[in-house]
């Protein structure tokens, strides 16, 4: 265990973090969770730090969560979204970011549709970079908050059985989740229609299932993913209705297992598709706790990175 410092200057993906890094982020997040539950939810740690939130792709939750985390640490924040910017006029990613950095920004939080965009940036510029989702590659902060929320529910994840159900092929959350959960010693199973599960995914050390009933019987925690229609250029299954019938999680499916399963979803949820309203609003669902923990996790990452400069 490396003590009080991260092993890296950037959070580009779970792939690049060590188990000790992940545990340090969790430990720090616990302190920040106490802070955000106070009447005054703000601390001055990052008062001399400027953070740029660069969102080249739409986002509500992640962006708000990062912005709140930054503001609760007293950082100065600039926001940028691609839809209203010079990217539309043909500027390259590097030029855009270099322009923003000339305005003396210390940290960059970036979401981009191209896999590897955050890594590319870290090779070319000097600021600390946090990947807020790069295409179908990774979404490290989501995976960290997922694993943290799981830990709150079921304790240490060593040996725990976690299922990831849904569109594995297009999901960056799935990949980051797999890396993160494995580093913490959990067993992971992915489940979905064969067309939405990447070939050779077993090589990552996860088991594969095409039967949602069996997966639910097996797991302690089920993390449900949205069908990412916006990334699907061809049809991967006949219809949404059919998907909902075969892979949607209904209350009776859970009841039939006769045990408690923690239900999670990174959002946005599509009620009636991958999750029924009844399940989403049930007491086993921790979807809203995930959102709360998201702010604490992001505060912890910003805090720890700011210290490494």
């Amino acid at each position: 265990m490396s003590g009080s410092q991260l092993s890296t200057r950037h959070v580009l993906g779970i792939k690049y973090l060590t188990e000790a890094d992940i545990r340090l982020i969790f430990k720090t997040a616990k302190n920040f969770k106490e802070v955000i539950n106070r009447p005054i939810k703000k601390v001055p740690s990052l008062r001399d730090v400027t953070v740029a939130n660069l969102f080249f792709e739409n986002s509500t939750r992640t962006r708000l969560s990062f912005e709140l985390a930054e503001k609760r640490l007293s950082a100065d924040v600039v926001n940028f979204s691609a839809s209203s910017s010079s990217v539309k006029k043909g500027e390259t990613l590097l030029d855009t970011v270099n322009n923003i950095l000339s305005m003396k920004v210390d940290m960059v939080v970036m979401r981009h549709p191209a896999p590897g965009a955050a890594y590319f940036l870290s090779q070319h510029i000097d600021a600390n970079i946090i990947n807020a989702g790069d295409g179908t590659h990774e979404h490290p902060t989501q995976a960290l908050l997922d694993a943290y929320s799981m830990q709150e529910q079921v304790g240490d994840l060593k040996g725990k059985k976690i299922a990831i159900i849904g569109d594995i092929l297009h999901s960056r959350v799935a990949l980051s989740n797999i890396f993160c959960l494995q580093k913490l010693g959990a067993k992971v199973q992915v489940c979905g229609p064969p067309t939405l599960i990447p070939k050779h995914i077993e090589k990552l050390g996860v088991s594969v299932s095409y039967d949602v009933r069996k997966t639910l019987e097996w797991c302690d925690v089920a993390n449900l993913l949205r069908i990412q229609l916006e990334r699907q250029d061809i049809k991967y299954f006949p219809s949404i209705r059919e998907y909902a019938q075969y892979f949607g999680i209904q209350q009776e499916l859970i009841a039939n297992t006769g045990k408690k399963i923690v239900i999670m979803h990174p959002g946005p949820i599509n009620r009636g598709v991958e999750i029924s309203s009844e399940v989403a609003d049930s007491k086993d669902s921790i979807i809203l706790q995930q959102v709360e923990n998201g702010v604490a996790i992001r505060m912890a990452i910003l805090y720890l990175l700011a210290a490494t400069r």
Partner: protein, 184 residues
């Protein structure tokens, strides 16, 4: 190997704490609307000890005491090599309108106390804040801050180092002074 000189051994250490308790009773009487706030980490141990001492003298076990962590409030955060590991803040009562006694074992530059006072503000507006310390290094201050209740005063050069050992945490009660490059 650096060896420290004992400047307060067990018996006098405990006597000093007792004296501090009596001084507090002198100004706070029965401790209505008053609370102790220990600064993480060793200030917390000291606050517990004072709380216990007061309880014994006054036969009163409802004197409130909380723990305050100031890691996120430090002004040297980005100047350090490594981030400091935060501890817990547990103040499970309202400090609004209360008289607060801040407790820390060593008062040195005053920066910890400055951070503690801004941290305290985020929990409410106390009526009054006073400061209690076991060791006051009065010649090493960076800020206009002083303690209201002092165990012992140590006049030493900047390079010297004062260490307080607590029975709960370190096995025995004593205060040690380490000299600059072992001169003392």
């Amino acid at each position: 190997m650096k060896k420290g000189r004992i400047i307060l051994e067990k018996e006098r250490f405990q006597l000093t704490l007792e004296r501090l308790c009596h001084q507090l009773i002198e100004s706070y009487d029965d401790f209505t609307d008053t609370c102790l706030i220990g600064i993480q980490t060793s200030g917390v141990v000291m606050a517990r000890r004072i709380q216990k001492g007061l309880a014994a003298i006054l036969s009163k076990d409802d004197i409130q005491s909380g723990n305050l962590d100031i890691t996120f409030y430090r002004d040297d955060f980005r100047l350090r090599e490594k981030p400091l590991a935060p501890s817990n803040t547990t103040i499970d009562f309202n400090i609004e309108g209360k008289r607060v006694i801040l407790v820390d074992d060593v008062l040195y530059t005053g920066r910890t106390i400055q951070a503690a006072m801004s941290a305290l503000q985020d929990h409410g507006r106390p009526r009054q804040v006073e400061m209690l310390t076991l060791v006051d290094r009065r010649f090493n201050r960076h800020l206009p801050i002083r303690a209201d209740y002092v165990g012992i005063t140590v006049d030493s050069v900047d390079e010297a180092y004062v260490q307080v050992n607590w029975e709960e945490a370190d096995g025995s009660d004593k205060v040690l002074l380490f000299g600059a490059k072992n001169i003392v």
